[in-house]
């Protein structure tokens, strides 16, 4: 019995949280980013210890290269380390749902999708590494709009089988 509860309780909590988040997301700021909106990212933060990434240039043009400075201060348990560029597209859509009384209601929601990503493996040894990453000329540029946005990040991650990846990021502004 206790074994069943061990699995059932987390599932019920996750489904309950997802339902509450869906209902309240448009109304309360706490659901628009941060702990309640991206709980996995929040949990991942303490795991970034020992892994850092930065770049000298905060702005870079499409078609140019970014020089990433990867610092590994603790290599134990890192797994395979990769450094990469990710562009996330945020887009608004109209979500419709059926209410308990059978009527339909709609609300404006924001979804996200990966518009671009490219990863390069690096040696997972303690030290500082310089890695050059190219931004394709046809990739999106950084843009913050009303219903459509593109956000770039320079990311280093340590992939660990069966466990949450270690990950550290640095926002980048990509000019057209």
């Amino acid at each position: 019995m206790s074994d069943v509860l061990y699995y059932v309780i987390p599932v019920v909590l996750i489904l309950g949280y997802a339902a509450v988040r869906r209902r309240l997301r448009g109304r309360y700021w706490i659901f628009r980013g941060g702990l309640l909106d991206h709980p996995v990212d929040f949990l991942r933060r303490p795991l970034t210890k020992g892994l850092q990434v930065s770049t000298g240039a905060q702005e870079v043009r499409r078609g140019d290269e970014v020089e990433a400075l990867v610092t590994i201060s603790r290599s134990s348990g890192l797994g395979n380390v990769e450094v990469g560029l990710i562009c996330i597209e945020y887009y608004d859509y109209e979500a419709t749902r059926t209410n308990k009384d059978g009527t339909q209601s709609s609300s404006r929601e924001t979804a996200e999708a990966t518009a671009y990503e490219a990863w390069q493996p690096v040696e997972s040894a303690q030290g500082v590494l310089n890695v050059r990453l190219a931004i394709p000329p046809e990739a999106p540029f950084s843009y913050k709009g009303d219903c459509l946005s593109f956000k770039w990040d320079l990311v280093v991650k340590g992939s660990r089988r069966g466990r949450l990846d270690k990950e550290a990021g640095h926002e980048l502004f990509v000019l057209p």
Binding site: Y91, D92, Y93, E94, F141, D146, P176
Partner: protein
Amino acid sequence: MSPRLQLQLEQERYRPGDTSKGTILVLEGGHSRSLEVHLEYREETADYHDVPVSIAVGSLHEGDLTTGTSFEFEVTLPPDALPNYQSEHGELYWEVDAKSNEIGRDTHERSRIEVESDPARVTRS
């Protein structure tokens, strides 16, 4: 009756700071309060859209429009104009919008233009 318009542009591809020249032809005359042209940068998803940049050319004509008349205009893109971009879930693009301001629903004739990035001029906005 609403007028029927046709929008003709001298070219379709531009760079930031370029001037777009065009003509509005009145194919069928009709009631109008004024004829205006806007150059707009639009963002669009499947369900929503917004116009973060709108540059007004001004009124080209006041009053009803007569069949066969034409109106020339020109409008300059900002030097820091962002380029067009199409993604999987949305699009950013420039468009010339000729509008006949009418009582009730306005008549629009729109034409997209392609704006490419100009690395020499672009700065962070």
